[in-house]
C-alpha cells in the first residue's frame, strides 16, 4: 500500500478499499488511495453504482447519486451556468475542483465535458465522500 495522507482514517480507508476490491473483483493491494476508478481499476458505469451500494451498506450512509456535481452546481448561486452544451464552464470547473480537492486542479481542464467528470474520480474521492457523509450523519444525530 502506498503512503496515505496523514489525515486519512486507516480503519475507514481499509473498508473503502475492501468495497472497491469486492465490487471490481480485484485484490486489495491493487486498489490505492490515488487510483483512478475507471482508468486504473477498470470500473464500468455500473460498477460505480455497485461501489456506492457497497459503501452505503458498509457505513450505513446514503450516497446521493450525482451528489458531487449537484453540490458544485448549487454552489453557483449567482445564476452563472455550470455547463453549456455539456461542456463545463470555467466557474463550473472551479466549483467542481473546490468540491473534489483530492483531484489535481489542472485536471479540470478547459473543454472538460460533464460526462467526463467520472473519469477523474479517485478512490480518494469516495473515501472523502464517506467521511463527509458519516460526519453529517453524526452531526444530525
Amino acid at each position: 500500500m502506498s503512503a496515505l495522507p496523514q489525515h486519512v482514517d486507516t480503519a475507514i480507508y481499509e473498508k473503502v478499499v475492501y468495497c472497491f476490491a469486492e465490487a471490481l473483483g480485484l485484490d486489495e493491494d491493487e486498489v490505492t488511495y490515488d487510483s483512478l476508478v475507471i482508468d486504473d481499476l477498470g470500473a464500468e458505469s455500473l460498477d460505480l453504482l455497485d461501489i456506492a451500494f457497497r459503501l452505503e451498506r458498509t457505513f450505513d450512509i446514503k450516497i446521493p447519486r450525482g451528489g458531487v456535481e449537484q453540490a458544485a452546481q448549487q454552489a453557483l448561486d449567482d445564476g452563472d451556468p455550470y455547463e453549456v452544451d455539456g461542456i463545463l464552464t470555467e466557474r463550473g470547473r472551479n466549483s467542481l475542483a473546490d468540491a473534489m480537492p483530492e483531484i489535481p486542479r489542472e485536471e479540470f481542464r478547459e473543454g472538460l465535458k460533464s460526462v467526463e467528470v467520472a473519469l477523474l474520480f479517485r478512490v480518494a474521492t469516495f473515501y472523502r465522500l464517506v467521511v463527509e457523509l458519516m460526519a453529517a450523519k453524526a452531526n444530525a444525530s
Partner: protein
C-alpha cells in the same frame, strides 16, 4: 428473477415490473424440474440507483417463487438484476439457496457460438467488445485459451494490464471491431459501435442488450446473430404464459443462456453458484459447460427467433 426446484425441483428467474413481485409464468422440464419467472417491481432507473430497494424486491421475489413452487433449490438473476446489489452477492447473504447471475452460461454460449462461427469461416482472429465486463472478459479469456488470436476493445491502464495478463491485444472498440471478421459484442450497456466500424462480411455475435450497434446502415454482408441463445432442452414445458414470455423474449424454440444457469444448477444438485460477483471464478465456464452437456443443453446460433446453421455463413 428465476427460481428453480428440482424433480421435485424448483427454479426462479427474473425481470423487472411494477408493484409487488409476482409470477410471470411457469416453466418446466418434464418430470425433472419446475421453475417460475418472477418479476421484481422496479423500473431500470430506480433499480440501478436504489439498490437497497432492488435487494429487498429480490428477497420478496424469492419468497414468491418459493411459495409458488412449494420449495426452491436455486435462484437465477436475469437482466439488470444480475448487475445490481453486488451482482448476486447481497441476495446470497439473505437467502439459504444458491444465487447465480447467469454470467457463466452467457459466456459459455457466446464462446461456443463464436467458436462455431470462427471454425466454419476458417478464421483464427476474433474481436471482443465490452472487455471491461464480466462476460466480455470471460469470452476473451476462453477464446485466447483455445488458441484464437483475440483483440479486445477498450482503453485505460486496467484494460491494458488485463489484456496483457490474458495474452490478448487491446485496441479501441472501432479498431478492434474493424480488424476481425468475427466480432463478439458483450458490452453491458450496448450502443457502443457505429455499424460502419465493421468491415464488409463481418459476423457480429451480439450479447449486448440494448444491441451493440447504434442505428445506421450496415456495410454489405454484415451478419448479426444472437450470441447467447441456447436450444430448449427436451421436455421443455412452457404453458400459456410461458409461451407469451418466450414470444416476448427469444422466441418459442430457444432461450437466453442465462435462463438455463439456475436450471442446470438445480438439476445437477450443485450447491455453489456458477457465477456471482464481478469476475467469473476459474473453472466456472468449464463446470457449467460440463453440467450443461450432461443435461443435453446446446448453444444455438440464431437470427431473431430462428436457428442459423454456421454453414449458412459461407454462402452469405
Amino acid at each position: 428473477m428465476v427460481g428453480v426446484r428440482r424433480a421435485d425441483w424448483a427454479m426462479a428467474v427474473g425481470g423487472e415490473g411494477h408493484g409487488e413481485p409476482g409470477v410471470i409464468c411457469n416453466l418446466s422440464i418434464d418430470g425433472k424440474a419446475e421453475g417460475v419467472v418472477v418479476s421484481v417491481p422496479l423500473l431500470p432507473e430506480p433499480l440501478l440507483t436504489d439498490q437497497q430497494a432492488a435487494l429487498e424486491g429480490m428477497v420478496r421475489a424469492v419468497e414468491v417463487a418459493r411459495q409458488a413452487l412449494g420449495g426452491l433449490d436455486a435462484v437465477g438473476l436475469g437482466s439488470l438484476l444480475a448487475v445490481v446489489a453486488g451482482r448476486g452477492a447481497a441476495l446470497a447473504e439473505r437467502v439459504d439457496i444458491p444465487v447465480t447471475t447467469g454470467a457463466a452460461a452467457t459466456t459459455w454460449a457466446a464462446v461456443e457460438n463464436a467458436v462455431a462461427v470462427l471454425d466454419v469461416l476458417g478464421e483464427r482472429r476474433a474481436a471482443v467488445l465490452g472487455f471491461a465486463g464480466t462476460v466480455g472478459q470471460g469470452v476473451a479469456a476462453a477464446l485466447s485459451a483455445r488458441g484464437y488470436d483475440v483483440v479486445v476493445g477498450g482503453s485505460g491502464k486496467a484494460m491494458e494490464r488485463q489484456a496483457k495478463k490474458l495474452g490478448v491485444s487491446l485496441d479501441s472498440p472501432e479498431g478492434a471491431a474493424g480488424s476481425a471478421r468475427v466480432v463478439i459484442g458483450a458490452s453491458t450497456t450496448g450502443g457502443i459501435l457505429a455499424p460502419e466500424a465493421l468491415a464488409p462480411g463481418t459476423v457480429l455475435l451480439d450479447i449486448a442488450l440494448p444491441p451493440t450497434l447504434t442505428p445506421g446502415k450496415r456495410p454489405d454482408g454484415v451478419t448479426v446473430l444472437a450470441g447467447e441463445a441456447v436450444a430448449l432442452p427436451e421436455g421443455w414445458q412452457k404453458g400459456f404464459w410461458g409461451t407469451i414470455y418466450h414470444w416476448l423474449s427469444y422466441g418459442h424454440s430457444q432461450a437466453y443462456a442465462c435462463l438455463m444457469e439456475p436450471i442446470v444448477l438445480s438439476m445437477v444438485g450443485r450447491e455453489t453458484p456458477y457465477a456471482q460477483g464481478r469476475r467469473l471464478k476459474p473453472g466456472a465456464l468449464e463446470d457449467f459447460g460440463r453440467d450443461a452437456a450432461t443435461l443435453g443443453l446446446r448453444p444455438r446460433l440464431a437470427r431473431g427467433w430462428s436457428e442459423v446453421r454456421p454453414q449458412v455463413l459461407l454462402t452469405g
